[in-house]
């Protein structure tokens, strides 16, 4: 039997999803931060064992090992990447510091600057200039370039980013500079902007290239080590790596621009969600992932998680490569509830996992969202909760919320006459505030996209998501919530589902009334050749590659382009559709897209093209997911009842154990279902159903 393995390395756990035929086996073991490949090999060994095979036997039967890594993200969080230098066009040394004027908080004059990857002393310039049409205005001064290299060498740089103006139109200067820098600064990691992000404008491209240089050596070093271990173990195919765009691709391709793996972890979760939702007949999803420190929101539309290449700020640096959009809010189970200027606030400060919420009993003293759930009776303090690994405690929790109640002034209210009631009211207020914050976060995620949350199905995962899912769905007008049982290993599953994909674009700015069709063909041909080369090297036959030929267009003067396919599903190199009728077709398609996005078109304006894009992919086998619900009778009676507040005051609420529920069962809210790693709240007015695949869905009565 042929296997496929998906691996996702997180901060605490390394998750595995093994696909054999239609069946998926999941496994988890601890991550090994000092050398993460060790944890990977350990888990693979366990999977082999379970299959009754030796590791070499097992690995030789693997068609694909697909990997999602956070090594680039960690490098940026810890700011411990390569000592990086930048070489850029004379006169443009400071673009990376100006950040186009952007500041994260316009009201706080005490906002600290981001730590500079390339401080000014390591930003050196060279006389050279290419114009917007690709012509050379000033030749590359090679002597000056060698002098710049000498200065960087003196500063012991380990990586060099090269970014010249209009290199995405004519990369000759960058190519030559790349050669010279390699000669002059040996052993340094060198990358050029036309390879990393071949599009305008200069800040976006330069910033992306600088971050690429900064994380590049660590990402490639890590992947090389892992590939070596896998090869030693007996794996004979290319390692496939998850990209932030939601596709996977070979290690060789990734090493051309390691920045592509940044933010790929959350993307894996979204791709897993899309797959799961599609199988259950829900192509339009709002995916919410509430963990310990954050609440991540993303959208799946028509079964696709769109990758956007716009203003993606990551760890205070602009990274312009296509990314599955995941919006993050600092509201998780560990978020701290506090009173500021008389107003109750939840987060963004978090108790993290150490010391964690008060109820963890590890020394936490500040009340968190998880503590509020304990206070409200939503989370159990019974023995054996959370898979038996540890028990939540009320010790200190009531006191903390009592103090919060005093800060909120509840003590003066009638409801605060009783201390315990005051504490419960404060916890309920925290619950309301965090709910509202999450709902507003969702609205901001859909803002400007022409999407009404009411048309979506919510898919909730992460440890804390299902406790809030239905109440938020109600707030947003959503009728149905999916809660897959496999959600704790969703990202690993996502890497298995994701298709090998190359999604790239090339800039070409021209009015659609005066298109140079030869140039458009040439750009798409270049992109086809690149895709061809990388897919072949990764062992895929050229015939298996499907291409979506897309255009980026806008009305003259607009800053933001809209992307849309002009030829959705065609073979590579099949450019027959670029014919005489092409410009007119492009305008019609663009206007339709603009109408869908903004509700109007400009009758008298001729739109312009800003670039061509090619999304090429190969379909690979995916795990089967199923849905559907056929009622098979009532559930067994609840194990017990507990006093809890599910938004309408305290009452005795039935508690069900997830283990006692099987497909076809449904139960009415109010109720609480306790699963191994999560608690599902069935709010009043909602019904929980276990579908044919054993996953939960919540529907409005």
């Amino acid at each position: 039997m042929a296997y496929r393995v998906g691996i996702d390395i997180g901060g605490t756990f390394t998750d595995f999803a093994l696909l054999k035929g239609d069946e998926v086996v999941v496994h988890k073991n601890l991550s090994t931060p000092e050398d993460r490949s060790l944890g990977v090999m350990e888990g693979l060994g366990r999977l082999a064992e379970q299959e009754g095979l030796s590791l070499p036997d097992f690995l030789s039967r693997c068609d694909a090992i697909v990997h999602g890594t956070t090594v680039a993200d960690n490098t940026l969080i810890e700011m411990n990447g390569a000592l990086t230098g930048l070489i850029t066009t004379e006169g443009f040394r400071d673009e990376i510091e100006y950040r186009r004027g952007f500041k994260e908080d316009i009201w706080d004059v005490r906002l600290e600057p981001p730590r500079q990857i390339t401080p000014r002393r390591r930003r050196l310039t060279v006389p050279e200039r290419v114009l917007h049409d690709g012509s050379v205005h000033r030749a590359l001064d090679e002597d000056a370039l060698r002098e710049a290299c000498r200065k960087l060498r003196l500063q012991n740089v380990e990586a060099v980013a090269i970014s010249f103006l209009f290199s995405f139109v004519n990369p000759d200067h960058e190519r030559r500079a790349h050669e010279i820098v390699r000669q002059e600064i040996q052993n340094a990691y060198v990358c050029a902007s036309h390879e990393v992000l071949p599009r305008a404008p200069e800040y976006d491209r330069t910033s992306t290239t600088v971050v690429n240089a900064y994380v590049g050596p660590r990402v490639t070093g890590y992947l090389e080590k892992l590939v070596q271990r896998l090869a030693d173990g007996g794996y004979r195919r290319q390692l496939m790596v998850m990209q932030a765009s939601g596709g996977v691709m070979s290690r060789d391709y990734i090493e051309g621009a390691p920045i592509r793996v940044l933010a790929s972890g959350p993307a894996g979760g979204v791709i897993g969600s899309a797959h799961c939702g599609a199988a259950k007949g829900c192509p339009n999803l709002l995916c919410v992932d509430m963990g310990g420190t954050s609440y991540d929101m993303s959208l799946v539309i028509d079964g696709q998680a769109p990758a956007e290449a716009g203003w993606n700020m990551h760890h205070r640096y602009l990274v312009g490569v296509p990314m599955v959009k995941v919006e993050t809010l600092g509201a998780g189970g560990g978020s701290i509830c506090h009173v500021n200027g008389g107003m109750l606030q939840v987060g963004p400060r978090s108790a993290g996992s150490e010391p964690g919420p008060i109820c963890y009993g590890r020394g936490g003293t500040e009340p968190t969202v998880t503590d509020a759930l304990v206070m409200l009776g939503i989370l159990s303090t019974d023995q054996g909760f959370a898979g038996g690994s540890f028990t939540l405690s009320r010790k200190g929790v009531v006191e903390a919320f009592r103090a919060l109640a005093r800060d909120l002034g509840h003590a003066n209210d009638k409801q605060g006459a009783n201390d315990e009631q005051g504490a419960e009211q404060a916890a309920f207020d925290c619950w309301r505030v965090v709910n509202a914050a999450m709902s507003q976060g969702v609205r901001r995620t859909t803002a400007g996209k022409g999407i009404d949350p009411r048309d979506l199905v919510m898919l909730a995962y992460g440890g804390n998501g299902p406790a809030f899912a239905a109440i938020q769905a109600e707030e947003l007008g959503i009728e149905k919530v999916l809660i897959p049982k496999a959600s704790p290993t969703f990202s690993a599953l996502g890497t298995l589902v994701a298709n090998p994909t190359i999604d790239e674009e090339r800039s070409y700015i021209a009015s659609s009334a005066a298109l140079d069709l030869d140039r458009i063909r040439a750009l798409w041909s270049q992109l086809c050749e690149r895709a061809d080369r990388h897919f072949s090297a990764a062992g895929f036959s050229p015939g298996s590659v499907q291409a979506s030929y897309q255009l980026n267009m806008r009305y003259p003067g607009q800053n933001f382009s809209l992307s849309f396919p002009v030829e959705g599903d065609a073979p590579l190199h099949d450019l027959g559709f670029v014919d005489e009728g092409f410009p007119a077709r492009a305008i019609t398609l663009f206007n339709a897209r603009h109408m869908a996005e903004y509700g109007h078109v400009r009758e008298n304006e001729v739109p312009e093209i800003s670039g061509v894009r090619l999304a090429a992919r190969v379909e690979t086998p995916s795990p089967k997911a199923a849905g559907g619900f056929v009622s098979k009778g009532p559930p067994p009676p609840p194990q017990r009842t507990r006093r809890a507040n599910l938004g309408r005051g305290f009452a005795m609420v039935p508690i069900h154990s997830g283990r006692s529920l099987s497909p076809g069962m449904e139960l009415q809210g109010p109720a609480i279902i306790e699963e191994t790693f999560t608690t599902i709240v069935v709010y009043p007015g909602w019904t929980a159903q276990v579908d044919d695949a054993g996953d939960y869905q919540l529907v409005r009565c």
């Binding site: 005490r110 209009f166 800053n559 903004y598």
Partner: protein
């Protein structure tokens, strides 16, 4: 259109009448929902608009004003716009019958004498009603337009002697009646604008407001109009209380500041702005008495609504940034603006350039005065830029294009106690996304040559101002260029003993026999190939330079923010080694000696 009207527009408004009680948490949840409406509205406009000034520069603001004309919620956008829009809606509110207000209406206002900022700031707004037909609130959306249909392209006339010269004035114009676009009105508004992309922009503004109104209708339905009224009342009262608490922490006292503008556009020198900030208990009073009122001044008249807004921008910067920005600020702070001075001009004065100067000198003076009580937040929120080199040409159809000069650059980023100036502009302007060479050159016949920070371009201090940048560009076709230079003789002030920023300077036709400095104003036709060079002033320093950590000075020299000469002359730091091979080190003994000598 009188001082009397100004007084009526600025008068404190009562809370909304309501019997509903709302707890603090619910009120804050409703406030969050309002904020999201504003975010959506501004996002809609930013994405759908076609002028670079809106979709690239983000010079826009969405806000919600209540039925009494109080700012209930200001949101994403430019703070300098946030605090002005409620004054424009008040004129409409006072004339609801006259203008036949009703559900589904959308209005346009830009009149400086009826609560407006300056003519180019178009405010599009729409009322929201409850089920009984009672007004609940108003959604506003403001954006700076690239043209106003006046004498000069771009809306800024150096020699304007009245408002009519500057363009078309709308006190309150109905664009949409009960949901139906008034096409005749819309076409007339579009026709009175030179900008080819204006029609798309104004359509995007209408769309953005209507989108927000639909969201607000749903919120009114969900919570009930009375609960929303109570939530607005509570949010505004909460802000007033918090502002007063901040003021009460400051010692009582009076702090004065005077700032000069080099000259008006006609050449009259030393135009004066004077501010007195008085703190008495929890009451802050900002009084502009003593500010210039010479009637012959040209181009330096800032509207009354704008003056209030620019004062507030600086007051807000001095306070805890988590305080909600709404009418509570105006309820807590008294602003005194003498009638007839350049901060509250007589009717029909031209107002476009006043939003630059004296508006920014007003914020600067408030900042200097408050630096005595809030030194850790004393960064002036301004642009001392005069009118930068605005470059204008016409395309083959005779429609105007404009490279408005908001290129990437560094200017006016002052230090505060404990933090050097950083980035390219003061915090309040941090949502304006500056224009890039690759976009501009693909659109306009322009070549950007250089825009790097100038070494020693930031004011020295214990904490250093960010260096200003020198922006050099070449016009590739004959092009007209307009500029008004200020902040050369009176550059941006340092704070609490920090040095002033460097002066702004400007040169036309650099490197040719016709090379000339622009000392005052210019409205020149440049030949093809002409090079223009604009040196921005940097940020001011904070605290005495001799107190700066010598190691930080060394780092600054390595980064070429500061020259080795200035390290010695301004900071009293003696360095050994060479910059060329990065071997600089501080000679601590020699530094100590030099500093002692300089201090004496």
């Amino acid at each position: 259109m009188s001082y009397e009207l100004n007084r009526a527009l600025a008068a404190r408004r009562a809370p909304l009448p309501t019997d509903a009680h709302v707890d603090a948490v619910t009120a804050d949840i409703i406030r969050g929902a309002f904020e999201t409406v504003c975010f959506e509205s501004a996002t809609y406009l930013g994405r759908a608009a076609s002028s670079p000034i809106i979709n690239q520069s983000n010079e826009r603001n969405a806000a919600i004003v209540d039925a009494h004309g109080r700012l209930a919620m200001g949101a994403v956008g430019t703070p300098h716009l946030t605090f002005v829009n409620q004054m424009e809606t008040r004129w409409g509110l006072m004339n609801q019958e006259r203008y036949d207000w009703g559900p589904g209406d959308v209005f346009l206002a830009n009149d400086p004498d009826h609560g407006g900022g300056h003519l180019p700031d178009y405010c599009v707004y729409a009322p929201v009603y409850d089920a009984q037909g009672k007004l609940v609130c108003i959604q506003t959306l403001q954006a700076h337009q690239g043209d106003t249909g006046g004498k000069d392209p771009g809306g800024f006339s150096l020699d304007a002697t009245d408002l009519f010269t500057e363009g078309v004035i709308y006190p309150c114009l109905k664009l949409v009646h009960r949901g139906e676009l008034r096409r005749d009105v819309f076409d007339a508004v579009v026709r009175n604008n030179r900008f080819a992309t204006f029609g798309g922009d104004i359509a995007a503004m209408i769309g953005g407001v209507q989108h927000a109104v639909a969201m607000l209708d749903r919120l009114v339905e969900k919570w009930g109009a009375d609960v929303i009224r109570a939530a607005i009342n509570q949010s505004i009262a909460q802000t007033e209380r918090r502002v007063r608490e901040e003021v009460a922490k400051w010692p009582d006292g009076t702090h004065e500041a005077t700032v000069f503008i080099d000259h008006d556009t006609a050449g009259t020198r030393d135009v004066r702005v004077h501010v007195t900030c008085t703190i008495a208990g929890d009451q802050l009073t900002v009084d502009l008495t003593g500010t210039d009122d010479r009637p012959e001044l040209v181009g330096v008249w800032n509207t009354f609504a704008n003056t209030r807004s620019y004062v507030m921008c600086q007051v807000v910067a001095a306070m805890d940034p988590t305080i909600v920005k709404n009418e509570g600020y105006f309820d807590a702070v008294e602003i005194v603006v003498p009638e007839g001075c350049i901060a509250q001009p007589p009717p029909n004065k031209p107002a476009a350039l006043g939003s630059f100067h004296p508006a920014c000198e007003i914020t600067e003076a408030v900042c200097i005065a408050l630096s005595h009580v809030a030194p850790e937040r004393s960064q002036p929120q301004l642009y001392k830029i005069g009118m930068p080199n605005m470059v204008v040409g016409f395309d083959d159809d005779g429609m105007m294009w404009m490279d408005q000069g908001v290129d990437c650059r560094s200017m006016d980023v002052s230090a505060v106690a404990g933090l050097d100036g950083w980035g390219s502009c003061p915090s309040a302007l941090g949502s304006l996304i500056l224009s890039e060479a690759e976009d501009a050159e693909s659109r306009f016949p322009i070549l950007n040559i250089s825009r790097e920070m100038t070494t020693d371009g930031g004011g020295a201090g214990q904490w250093r101002g960010a260096p200003g940048s020198l922006n050099v560009k070449q016009v590739l076709k004959p092009t007209s260029a307009t500029a008004w230079m200020v902040s050369a003789e009176h550059p941006l002030s340092g704070m609490c003993g920090g040095d002033d920023a460097i002066p702004y300077t400007n040169r036309f036709e650099v490197g040719s026999p016709a090379e000339r400095p622009i000392l005052h104003t210019a409205q020149d036709l440049l030949p093809a190939g002409a090079v223009i060079a604009y040196q921005h002033g940097g940020g001011g320093g904070f605290g005495p330079a001799l107190r700066r950590d010598p190691e930080s000075v060394k780092e600054d020299v390595l980064d070429e923010y500061v020259s080795p000469e200035a390290a010695r002359a301004k900071y009293g730091v003696v360095l050994t080694g060479r910059l060329e091979d990065y071997t600089l080190a501080v000679d601590h003994a020699a530094t100590q000696a030099l500093r002692a000598q300089m201090a004496a």
